[in-house]
């Protein structure tokens, strides 16, 4: 375990923030106060955090419809995020975007996305910009196993290779695209990384339920892509989603006991806790203290979101190019 105590605590805290942010959303959504479609990222925290812990604010990320984890890991403000999802005008996007369209370009977070597969070409563009700037920065696109079937992803992979964009395709394979299984929808029935390989990219694979696997894998991937001239890379993480595709999904496609099993054996937070305490680098008490702190932080964000200003009809017409 090469990470410092501080780094470990930070990583755990980041994952915990995402977990509690979403567990809380899951509860609040049932009351009907939160509008729209919400797709929870719970279960996949190790990927967002294991990737973003390596990034500076100049590095870019492009996210998906399941974007809360990526946003938080990249440094988006917890309160601003919660307010956005609650539809407040004080939210990160003034209540205009909502859960699926959160962005904070100043933080290098180029947007969640309601269109599956739309992120990859954007990530290539950002990666070309990084290449042009020549400062060793990179752009990362997160995509699901479903998104890897979109033409946009194929086009983006080829273009990234051709242009030697400083970009990384991070595929989060949680085995489901909406309600359809990976084995059915991904024709190779093998993995996603091999597709990237076919485009001539160097690829890596890791366990997306294990922070250390993600973190160490990403260290290598980034070392490679940050070298000017090397061009893009791809990495696939095998992971799990704890909730339904969207909030309200009855999940009839899951097997009996599946959710209990993944919560028991494939929970990245549990796995992290076990690794660090088994290795004797952190005590349970250290982590428990963080848990308490994070819970309070999330509680506060909900309090703020409930109290925040609501948008008014006039706000519909702001930030648009022209109003007729």
């Amino acid at each position: 375990m090469q990470l410092s105590r501080e780094a470990l605590l930070r990583a755990y805290r980041q994952m915990k923030v995402i977990r509690e942010f979403e567990e809380r959303l899951h509860v609040d959504i049932q009351t009907g106060e939160i509008a729209g479609f919400t797709h929870l990222y719970c279960g996949q925290e190790a990927v967002a955090v294991g990737v973003c812990e390596h990034l500076s604010v100049e590095d870019k990320i492009v996210s998906t419809h399941r974007g809360h984890g990526h946003c938080l890991a990249k440094g988006c403000d917890v309160n601003g995020m919660m307010k956005e999802i609650w539809g407040s005008r004080e939210g990160l996007c003034k209540g205009k975007g909502g859960s699926m369209h959160i962005a904070d370009v100043d933080k290098g977070m180029l947007g969640a996305n309601g269109i599956v597969g739309a992120g990859s070409p954007i990530g290539v563009g950002a990666g070309i910009a990084c290449k042009i700037d020549g400062k060793g920065h990179v752009a990362i696109t997160f995509s699901g196993d479903g998104a890897c079937n979109q033409g946009t992803t194929f086009e983006a992979m080829n273009m990234a290779v051709v242009t030697k964009a400083a970009t990384i395709f991070v595929f989060e394979n949680n085995h489901y695209s909406e309600h359809t299984g990976f084995e059915y929808a991904v024709g190779t029935q093998k993995d996603i990384a091999s597709r990237a390989e076919a485009f001539g990219m160097k690829v890596w694979r890791g366990d997306g339920t294990d922070f250390f696997s993600v973190f160490e894998t990403m260290r290598e991937v980034l070392e490679y892509v940050r070298v000017p001239g090397n061009g893009p890379a791809a990495v696939e993480f095998d992971t799990e989603r704890f909730f339904g595709h969207f909030e309200g999904d009855p999940q009839r496609y899951r097997g009996p006991g599946e959710l209990d099993r993944i919560r028991e054996f494939r929970d990245c937070l549990k796995n992290f806790r076990k690794s660090v305490t088994d290795a004797g680098v952190l005590e349970h008490a250290d982590l428990d203290a963080l848990d308490t702190e994070v819970l309070a932080e999330i509680e506060e964000s909900v309090r703020q979101a409930k109290a925040a200003d609501r948008p008014t009809a006039e706000d519909v017409l702001t930030d648009v190019y022209i109003s007729y």
Partner: protein, 337 residues
């Protein structure tokens, strides 16, 4: 007549037509739902429950669950249609046409013309459109104005379960590509639906749903109900509105609109798409060109503002045309001069 939900009218019409004609096939993302999962196929039956049970009845050759690949879905529908099948392709959310537009616009829509009229292209493309669920800018759009503007496509927008039945059957039996737009906020609407398995509504025939002498209100889809509510309210005050449900925007029933305006002299078009280059502006222009002498007031359109669709509840309800806005428009054309 049976009472039926709008969404059930979709699935029962598809089932009836698949039974009648073995060339009818369905394809789309999650239309079976659960393929390759422990829950097994049909765990879902389509995200709108508009394909529930079809897989069990007709099997994997005729009910094809696809990967998330809209371009390939629309292109496959084109290829199926050119090869003697009658595909019904589902594009989950209308907003996703962006991903597949070339296959719809440059391929499907143009075959008949480009091939010198020597080919048929009997594809139906179904999609759920419209606002009302706080699904924000990429999942709420009304896209009919874009598609209506494309020569080669027929565009259908049913506003009742009975119209779903009659228009979808016509769409499936039509030899040209038909865009079939289902409003998400109407899926749960219940209404009487004719039992007749030959019940069909021809395209280009509007329906007069309220009759009055003072104002013509043209609409379709979700907003039709809003217009009817306004007409009913104003009728109590002695103001008479003709409410016209277009049913199809391509072909469009110009005659029904012009005939009504000849009597009322006043036109309001209520449209869910943004105002510029819209269905509303098109109809207003048509009436200005062809019934100018009959007009007692300028034609008026009621649209959302020219913005993407916002997320928050307050913002979305301010965005969508409301009964208040429609009523204000009626009073405005009545007070002209």
């Amino acid at each position: 007549m049976a009472k039926m939900m709008y969404r059930d009218a979709v699935v029962s019409t598809i089932a009836e037509e698949m039974e009648r004609d073995e060339n009818v096939v369905c394809l789309g993302e999650d239309i079976v739902g659960g393929m390759g999962t422990p829950g097994g196929p049909e765990a879902i039956g389509g995200i709108w429950s508009t394909s529930t049970g079809l897989f069990g009845k007709f099997g994997a050759d005729r009910v094809i669950d696809t990967p998330i690949s809209e371009s390939a879905i629309m292109g496959a529908a084109a290829g199926l249609a050119l090869s003697g099948k009658r595909p019904i392709a589902e594009l989950m959310f209308a907003d996703f046409i962006g991903v597949s537009l070339d296959q719809i616009w440059n391929q499907l829509a143009k075959f008949r013309y480009m091939f010198g009229g020597k080919t048929k292209c009997p594809a139906v493309i179904r999609m759920a459109y419209g606002a009302g669920y706080n699904a924000a800018a990429q999942h709420s759009q009304a896209v009919h104005q874009i598609l209506t503007g494309m020569p080669g496509l027929k565009v259908v927008m049913p506003s009742t379960p009975a119209d779903v039945k009659g228009l979808l059957r016509t769409a499936i039996r039509d030899d040209d590509p038909v865009i079939f737009l289902e409003h998400k906020a109407l899926y749960g609407m219940t209404g009487e639906v004719p039992d007749d398995k030959e019940y069909m509504i021809p395209f280009g025939h509007a329906r007069l749903t309220r009759a009055g002498q003072d104002v013509t209100i043209v609409s379709t889809g979700l907003l039709l109900g809003f217009c009817e509510a306004v007409a009913d309210k104003l009728a109590a005050e002695g103001i008479g509105c003709d409410v016209i449900d277009l049913r199809t925007t391509s072909p469009i029933d110009e005659e029904a609109i012009l005939d009504s305006v000849e009597v009322t002299g006043r036109l309001i078009v209520v449209d869910e798409a943004p105002p510029r280059c819209s269905l509303a502006s098109d109809i207003c222009a048509t009436v200005a060109e062809k019934a100018f002498a009959a007009l007692k007031a300028p034609p008026l359109s009621v649209n959302p503002p020219h913005t993407p669709i916002p997320f928050a509840r307050e913002l979305e309800s301010a965005y969508l045309p409301s009964t208040d806005k429609i009523e204000a428009a009626v009073r405005k054309v009545l007070s002209y001069r």
